[in-house]
Each structure stands twice: as C-alpha cells, then as structure tokens.
Symmetry: C2
C-alpha cells in the first residue's frame, strides 16, 4: 500500500510517549493542549487528526502505559510461590515508581483521581485499570490457594487489595519525592505480613 498525500512529519508512538509523560506529571486536566502539543513537538490540528481528541489521546496513552505495566506485573505473577509473586510485584512496582527514565509515581493515580464532573469518565478508566491489575493479582493468589501454597482460609480478595493498596500508596509517596530505597524498606515490612500468612 502506497502512502498518498503528504507524509507525517512525526512518529505516532514517539509523540504518544511524550504525551504520556505530560499526563503522568500533571494529570488529565492539568495537561493543557498547549503543554501537550509543545511536548509532543506537533501542533493542534496534527494532534486532532491523529488522535481524535484530548480524551482519546489520554486513552491511547493510558492503554500503552497499562499494557507495559501489566506486562511487568505478569512477569512478577509468574513466580512459583505466592510470596515470591507478591514480593516481585511490590519490588518491581517500587522500582518502576521511582525509575529515572519517566516521571515519578503512577499514571493510574496521577492521571486523575479526582476530576471535574464532566471528566468523571477519566477517573473511571483509571479505576478500571487498577481493578484489572488487582483482579490479576487475586487470580494468581487463588491459584496459590488451590496449589496449597496459601492456606484454604486465606482471604484472597483482601490480600490482593492489601498489596494493591500498598503499591498505590507507594505511588503517592513516589510522586511526592520518596526514593526507591524508601519504598523498598516499606516493602520489607509488608512482606512480613505475607510471610506470616504463608507459614499459616
């Protein structure tokens, strides 16, 4: 298929990554179109022709972010035991939240926990993403119960929620400037709880 007409002067995924960073730092509502286009190095009509609207751009950015995040999380969940899976999840999360190659914290949290009423959909998209991660975690823990790795009376939903909540709290801390070591020390403590469960 030949491309007829004037070719694009930018790479779609590259500018999407730049947009993601702006959303990540300032949230959906805090990221103005001027800030976005400036960071992306394109102008408004190009943005609208390529992505449709600010909201659709955000959805693309979040989908991409979540996909890579879930990939990393999936790797953690493949560990052989529930304890190892949770540890890997929390350690990778703490690392990712404080990595130097992107903004601190987590787009799922920074993006728009609270929004003006007309952007309530953004909060819901983010919440759905977090819920999906939590569900994947719960599924892994259910398997651990089935395999006898966790005792039968383990409250799997609560454990998954605990791990997610801690990870989200770490995201809040990371956005406020906490270091990797700060978060990992907190993970150390959390793992005592998980260890206590496993020894049953």
């Amino acid at each position: 298929m030949s491309t007829i007409g004037r070719p694009r002067a930018f790479d779609e995924e590259a500018v999407l990554d730049r947009a993601t960073e702006v959303f990540w730092q300032h949230g959906y509502e805090g990221a103005s179109l001027s800030a976005l286009t400036s960071a992306m190095g394109i102008n408004r009509p190009s943005l609208y022709a390529t992505f449709g609207s600010k909201e659709q751009l955000f959805q693309r950015a979040f989908a991409r972010y979540h996909e890579t995040q879930v990939t990393a999380a999936r790797a953690a969940l493949d560990k052989p035991s529930a304890y190892a899976a949770i540890e890997a999840f929390l350690r990778a999360s703490a690392d990712g939240l404080t990595a130097a190659d992107h903004p601190a914290g987590c787009l799922s949290i920074q993006g728009g926990l609270a929004c003006s009423p007309e952007n309530a959909g953004i909060s819901e998209i983010l919440a759905a993403g977090r819920a999906a991660t939590e569900a994947a975690l719960a599924e892994r823990l259910t398997r651990a119960v089935d395999e006898g790795d966790l005792s039968d009376d383990t409250d799997v939903r609560a454990l998954a929620r605990f791990v997610m909540a801690l990870s989200e709290g770490h995201a809040v801390h990371a956005a406020a400037g906490a270091s990797r070591e700060d978060l990992q020390a907190s993970v150390d403590i959390a793992l005592r709880a998980v260890g206590a469960l496993q020894r049953r």
Copy 2:
C-alpha cells in the same frame, strides 16, 4: 466590639464545610468557582470578600480538614503500645475514608496529587500535610522503641511510611468505591506484619 455595616447572611464555617466537600470530591482544579459558590449557597463576591481567593479558600478548607483528621489520628497514637496505635490508626482511617457523612476518600489525596504547573503549590501543601501525619506516626514509633515496645533495630521511618502508604492506598480504593469492610480486611493483613515486628 460591635459589628457595623450589613451583617453576613451566612455562617463562615458552615459554608467552608460545604466548600471542603466540593474540593474533596473534585479536587482543587476540578472544583470550579461556580460549583463552589453553588454548593456554599453564596455568590462570588461574598466568597472573595470572606476567603480572599480560591487558593486561600482551599487552604482554609484543608487546614480545617487536616486539623480534625490529626485530632483523630492523635487519639489513635495515644494507645499504650505501638501495635495498638497502628491498629487504631489504620482502623480509624478505614472508617473515616468510607464514612457516609462526607465524600469517600481523603482530601489530602483527592485534592490534587497532580496539578497543572501553575497550581503546583496545591500538591505541595497536600504533600506537606501527609508528611506531617507520617512524622507524628514516626515520632510515636520512636517512643515505642525507647520504651522497649519495639525492638531497637526497628526501621521506624520505614514502618511509619508503610502505615501511611497503606492508608493512602486505602484512600484511593475508597474513592473508587471500596467499602469499609474491604478496607478493614486489608488492615487485618497489614497488622500481621506489625505483629511480626512486635514479637521480634
């Protein structure tokens, strides 16, 4: 002192509470002046004459919120043992985050984790408030170490951060609709970690 001139037609603290709820639900930037004045039952000039600006109104709202929150937290920290203090803190936090008489979640989180660059000060104010709570927690735990209630090698800063992070994660969950019972079940798990520390 006599009040000369026309008297106010509203109670300052009452309308401040209404404003707090709007900020709590929609965040600083998501709360428009129209939404605020409508909820407060006053009009713009009255708001500006009384509170100065949107930002000052937010600061008043947050100060009031934080004061009452800290009062509740202080009560938890007065418990005789570190374990009891942490448990009371997390239980009260979970209750408060899901109480029916105000919006779900926590103003310190909902208010504006991410902001547009010109409102970066809001994020900082909120972060400072959370840091103050964490510091109070750390201070209480330091005392517990001094009293032999926690072992000497306890990482007090990490433990305080762990508790705060979990509480903040619960705030995220509460804002997304988690119930009191959901959060308390997560607290149950967290307390195993604290118990493991205390048994040393």
